[in-house]
């Protein structure tokens, strides 16, 4: 039952993207199938008529109208074929791809950000996207099956008018053909499953010849090894797929003999027999021949399509289940309308525990209280939980226990609220392959057309050099779209990410390693700028960095270790405390200490 529901859903969605086009498509299909059968019968009649005129010494003009009608109908048939072909290959894909993409974008809005860290979910999501994109094709398969069956029936009716025995023969054959469907689709499925890992490995190896991997491949001298491995994997894929197809064609081999050798022979023989006995007219030998051939190839088509369809139906069910899941989860969100509370602390974190996997806690009873306008430096080793804490503040994850409040509102409750109150410059910031304007303007989309604001932010982030080089604020960055685009270095991209953060500055600003790719002079200026900005605009600032030296500018330093806050306070307090912070500070200070200091 559920299967039927998912299939119907898929068909409905597929239809929904381009309803008029589909109706038009069905109509042309029907017209075509009808006319094909009709013209065949017509030509048979013409032949018979010619024969009878010959026998009765009639006039040629008797058949001319019929012939012209025949020609006109033929034009329609050919044109219908052409329309269908263009429609299927060109028009329908572009129409439906707009629809499916829109639908996917809509669905992507329901998906909470944390899901993107879940590898299993991402695999499902990828398959779901494929599923949605193939829905129009799925519908087309069904339409094709329907119309071929329609033309099968038409042909049978036309044949039955000549003699019922032909129909019996054809139906018998159709049943035999249908028997092969199941094994056919099973083989296809198995082959697909078998070749996936080989294909994946081959794809991976292929990337080893491009970009930075190419560099390593040549420096390490791994070229020949990679080529051999790649060829091996590709060859395996090829062999498996060929052997699968051979199996299918072997089972079909017997049918082919039946279809193309035995069946026409019997039918033609029978037709001849009937003609001799005068049961049917002479022209019908042509009609019978042609109709039985189209019928046979149609029935072969139908079985192939049904085999495809069975595979697609499984996919449709998966897609449907995923969709229902997503919808269910999304309805929980966006229900509370929070009120901004100016008296509440900017950030209030109490007793927060968090784990990605049940058995392994990443954060242990974290408590943190940040006043409005305070500047916080978040320090910690690689993997100490800094990034996770930020994700909790942004509401991407919800804590296992404890509360995270942003201006008194639950961080996980409302995405929109968080978006309006916290801005982040991530360590792994995006490098958008779009224009300079867009790269900065994305920080605050409503200001994307305000050139002055964008230029100000570029200057403040020390990125005005990029504008000088680009000459035009609408110049593309990177050359993936436009060959005229300009290439940026890692340091320049980072400056752009900061400009973006300035443009989209919210009450709370989070900077995660904002200067990791900058040179010493630019780095110092960047930190000074960030802090100056926060102070003059009264922003709450959270600065995450490995550079302990810059942390001393903060009002409060928070030190994380193995998911716990082990120290917090300002620079001089922590130095006095003589703990982990002092050790970190000293380890870096040692590097800069003059020889006298060391003594």
């Amino acid at each position: 039952m559920k299967n039927v529901k998912s299939i119907l859903w898929s068909l409905k969605i597929g239809f929904h993207h381009a309803p008029i086009s589909f109706i038009f498509f069905i109509l042309t299909q029907i017209i075509r199938s009808t006319l094909v059968v009709y013209t065949t019968v017509l030509l048979g009649d013409i032949i018979s008529e010619v024969q009878s005129i010959l026998a009765d010494k009639g006039e040629l003009s008797q058949i001319i109208p019929t012939l012209i009608l025949y020609g006109a109908l033929n034009v329609v048939v050919w044109l219908a074929v052409e329309i269908q072909w263009r429609f299927k290959d060109d028009y329908l894909p572009i129409r439906t791809s707009v629809g499916t993409s829109k639908m996917l974008i809509k669905v992507s809005k329901y998906i909470p950000l944390r899901k993107y860290d879940d590898a299993v979910f991402c695999d499902q999501y990828d398959r779901f996207q494929d599923g949605i994109r193939s829905q129009p094709r799925f519908l087309l398969t069904w339409i094709s099956i329907g119309t071929t069956i329609y033309s099968l029936i038409l042909s049978c009716i036309a044949l039955a008018e000549l003699h019922f025995s032909f129909v019996i023969l054809l139906v018998l054959f159709f049943i035999i053909e249908m028997l092969s469907v199941k094994s056919h689709s099973e083989i296809q499925n198995n082959v697909r499953k078998e070749i996936t890992p080989f294909n994946r490995l081959a794809d991976y190896l292929q990337t080893m010849f491009f970009g930075v991997y190419n560099r390593d491949t040549r420096l390490y001298g791994l070229k020949d090894q990679y080529i051999d491995q790649w060829a091996y994997n590709k060859r395996t894929v090829s062999e498996k797929s060929v052997s699968g197809n051979t199996k299918i064609s072997n089972t079909k081999g017997r049918l082919y003999f039946l279809q193309n050798g035995l069946c026409p022979l019997v039918i033609i023989g029978m037709a001849l027999f009937l003609i001799m006995r005068g049961v049917v007219p002479i022209g019908s030998i042509y009609t019978i021949w042609q109709l039985s051939r189209t019928t046979l190839s149609n029935s072969a088509d139908t079985t192939n399509r049904i085999a495809d369809c069975i595979v697609q139906c499984k996919h449709a069910k998966e897609t449907y289940d995923f969709y229902i899941d997503i919808k269910k989860n999304s309805s929980i969100n966006n229900t509370i309308i929070p009120l901004a509370d100016n008296t509440a602390p900017a950030l209030f974190v109490k007793d927060v525990d968090f784990s990605y996997l049940p058995e392994k806690k990443v954060l242990h009873s974290i408590s943190l209280d940040v006043r409005k306008g305070e500047i916080i430096a978040l320090l910690g080793e690689n993997g100490s939980g800094k990034s996770t804490l930020i994700k909790l503040l942004l509401g991407i994850y919800t804590p296992n226990s404890g509360v995270v409040l942003v201006f008194g509102n639950d961080a996980g409750a409302n995405e929109e609220y968080i978006r309006n109150h916290i801005s982040v410059a991530f360590q792994d910031f995006c490098c958008y392959p779009f224009s300079l304007r867009e790269n900065v303007g994305f920080g605050n989309i409503s200001e994307i057309s305000k050139d002055n604001n964008i230029i100000d932010c570029l200057k403040f982030a020390q990125a005005d050099e990029i504008l000088n080089r680009a000459k035009n604020i609408d110049r593309m960055l990177g050359r993936s779209i436009d060959n005229e685009g300009i290439e940026l270095s890692g340091g320049e991209w980072q400056r752009l990410a900061l400009a973006r953060a300035y443009l989209g500055a919210k009450d709370i600003m989070i900077f995660d390693e904002p200067a990791a790719k900058l040179d010493p002079l630019a780095e110092e200026k960047q930190f000074a700028n960030i802090i100056q900005y926060a102070k003059t605009h009264g922003k709450t600032l959270i600065l995450v960095s490995h550079r302990v030296g810059f942390a001393r500018m903060a009002d409060k330093i928070v030190l994380l270790k193995e998911g716990r806050i082990i120290e917090s306070g300002n620079h001089s307090q922590l130095m006095k405390a003589n703990g982990e912070y002092k050790r970190m500070f000293d380890s870096q200070r040692e590097m800069y200490a003059t020889k006298e200091d060391v003594k």
Binding site: S108, F209, Y256
Partner: protein, 600 residues
């Protein structure tokens, strides 16, 4: 047209060593040609059958004709069946092999051409096109998909003309005439199709880039937090609509062309059928000719329609072939295997000399390296510092001869760098800033930098300990063989810092290293790991090994022998830490910018 032969040659070369495939290719051609012949024979056989039947009906002795028609049709149907069941499989087999052969050649070449091609987007784009598409054309040509429809159409025309002339020259003329426009149309259509694709390319690229941003897992976090979905969707839609409108305009044009073609072709068919009917009634020919004329003209319309693909492939294949030729004619700059034998042991010193080297990236006037002279003795420990974009990383690439200087030369132990490439590749170990992240096991990630020798677990673990990655590796049961990344089932995820440690370990492993280069090895590391890694690396480097460090963290490099400060592609300061501090130049300024944060 000469490119057809060139493409066939390329394809032949690709499968030269696989005799079986050549057999398959021959079989494919045989099948295809017999397919066309059979299709041409069918009208004849059909008319024979009809004539035979009429003869029998009229009690004339035409049993032979009937039997010939009957058996002939039986055989021809059998051949058609064989064609449709076997052709696809054979073609799949042959085209896969050709694909493998051509791709292997391209990959091989990609690792030999000057690495700078990867910096030039125009060339890079072409390379991507070639490696995606060229093999398709090769298999299309060699295995007969492209050419057979051309040849098949030719056969059809000749054969049909002969057969119809036999009936009546006038009818033959009418039928063939009706199809000339069809052939012209397909040719025109293929041309227009090519233009319309080119015309839409840029807009389609915009549309695709915007759309992919919405589904890119690495971008989604920022895009969602910034609320960009609507904006990007709008942009995508705008470009898509533009592309679609263009496609539609062309399609309307094509349909009009189709209509004209079919009107003409069918009008001529009707005329020829009337003529035939007239002849039959006049007793000049048999009733079977009716079928003959009808089927022949139908087959002609059919085949001339199938020319479209052939025309299209012909015109675009010459473009892809020229791309392929361009790629293959690029110079080889990498060492050959044979060089390895003549230089078994190079115990000579490994001094590096940059002699007035100039370098700028292709298509840019900006000199990244500007008249640079630098001498590095074997065993020196050197640090290179400077602002973003001063040319540090390019210097490393030049030293590895990934790029070739525009002017000047680089000498390795007195010999030109180009003459000592094999030694260079073996003796220089570099940890790049944009290091590769290999989604295989820990072990593979580490030992890939030197596959020429065997490394025991102990040796690998020794290097792992130096970078502080052993705790991570011990976390997993399979240890060094734990897979990393998404490609392998059960692969684990590494953080940025862990990947960096892994890359450093990879740089430390090769035994023959004489020069170890590290380009910002610490940008993602926390202070403690940073200090440890530096200490371990300094300890690991032997007395006679040269160390070149590039970093923005000036505190870490105070103890090296020599610090080189670069600015706009030149060396502006060169000396030990103490020297440079006394000079009170750029280094002094940069050092203090960092050091002041650590004053107590």
């Amino acid at each position: 047209m000469s490119h057809i032969i060139c493409i066939m040659k390329d394809a032949m070369n690709a499968v030269k060593n696989r005799k079986k495939i050549l057999g398959t290719v021959c079989l494919l051609w045989l099948l295809t040609l017999s397919y066309y012949v059979v299709r041409m024979m069918t009208p004849l056989l059909q008319s024979a059958l009809l004539d035979g039947a009429v003869g029998v009906l009229n009690n004339t002795n035409s049993n032979l004709l009937l039997i010939i028609g009957f058996i002939g049709l039986f055989i021809s149907e059998g051949i058609l069946a064989l064609y449709s069941s076997k052709w696809g499989i054979l073609f799949e087999k042959a085209s896969n092999e050709i694909h493998i052969g051509i791709q292997s050649k391209i990959f091989d070449k990609l690792c030999k051409v000057p690495y700078s091609v990867f910096n030039s987007p125009q060339i890079y784009e072409k390379i991507e096109l070639v490696s995606e598409k060229y093999s398709k054309y090769c298999s299309g040509f060699l295995a007969g998909r492209t050419l057979s429809s051309l040849i098949g159409t030719f056969i059809s025309f000749v054969f049909t003309t002969i057969v119809l002339i036999n009936v009546d020259p006038l009818i033959a003329f009418v039928v063939v005439c009706g199809n000339f426009f069809g052939i012209f149309k397909t040719w025109l259509e293929a041309k227009l199709n090519y233009y319309s694709t080119v015309e839409k390319m840029k807009e389609r690229r915009y549309a695709d880039t915007y759309k992919s941003a919405l589904f890119d897992r690495n971008m989604i976090k920022e895009i969602k937090l910034l609320g960009l979905t609507d904006y990007i969707e709008k942009k995508w839609y705008e470009y898509t609509v533009r592309v679609n409108r263009k496609t539609m305009n062309y399609n309307v044009l094509f349909l009009l062309l189709d209509l004209t073609t079919y009107l003409i072709a069918n009008a001529f068919t009707v005329i020829s059928l009337i003529l035939t009917a007239k002849m039959i009634l006049n007793g000049e020919t048999s009733i079977g000719s009716f079928i003959l004329v009808y089927s022949s003209s139908g087959a002609l319309i059919d085949t001339s329609g199938s020319l479209f693909g052939a025309f299209r492939e012909l015109s675009s294949s010459s473009y892809y072939h020229s791309l392929y030729r361009d790629l293959m004619s690029m110079p080889n700059v990498e060492p050959n295997k044979s060089e390895a034998n003549c230089e078994k042991k190079s115990d000579v010193s490994f001094d590096i000399l940059f002699d007035h080297v100039d370098f700028s990236y292709e298509g840019s006037e900006n000199k990244i390296i500007d008249d640079l002279c630098l001498n590095i003795k074997q065993g020196e420990k050197i640090a290179i510092v400077g602002e973003n974009g001063c040319g540090k990383t390019t210097l490393v690439a030049l030293l590895n001869r990934l790029y070739v200087p525009n002017k000047g030369e680089i000498f390795i132990s007195g010999k030109s760098q180009a003459d000592n490439l094999f030694g260079l590749r073996r003796c220089v170990s570099t940890v790049f800033q944009d290091f590769g992240k290999y989604e295989t096991s820990f072990r593979e990630n580490i030992i890939m930098s030197d596959k020429s020798q065997h490394y025991s677990d102990e040796e690998v673990m020794m290097c792992v300990r130096k970078t502080g990655l052993e705790n991570k590796i011990h976390e997993f049961e399979s240890g060094l063989d734990t897979p990393i990344g998404r490609f392998v089932p059960g692969g684990i995820n590494l953080s940025g810092g862990e990947w960096q440690k892994l890359a450093i370990t990879r740089g430390l492993i090769p035994k023959d290293t004489k020069v170890l280069i590290m380009d910002e090895p610490n940008s993602a590391l926390d202070p403690i790991s940073e200090a440890t890694v530096y200490k371990q690396v300094f300890d690991a480097v032997k007395e006679d090994q040269t160390l070149i460090l590039i970093t923005h963290r000036l505190g870490a490099i105070r103890h090296v022998d020599r610090i080189i400060v670069m600015d706009h592609g030149r060396i502006i300061e060169d000396g030990s830490h103490d020297n440079l501090m006394e000079q009170k130049g750029k280094y002094f300024e940069m050092y203090n910018a960092q050091a002041k944060w650590y004053e107590v």
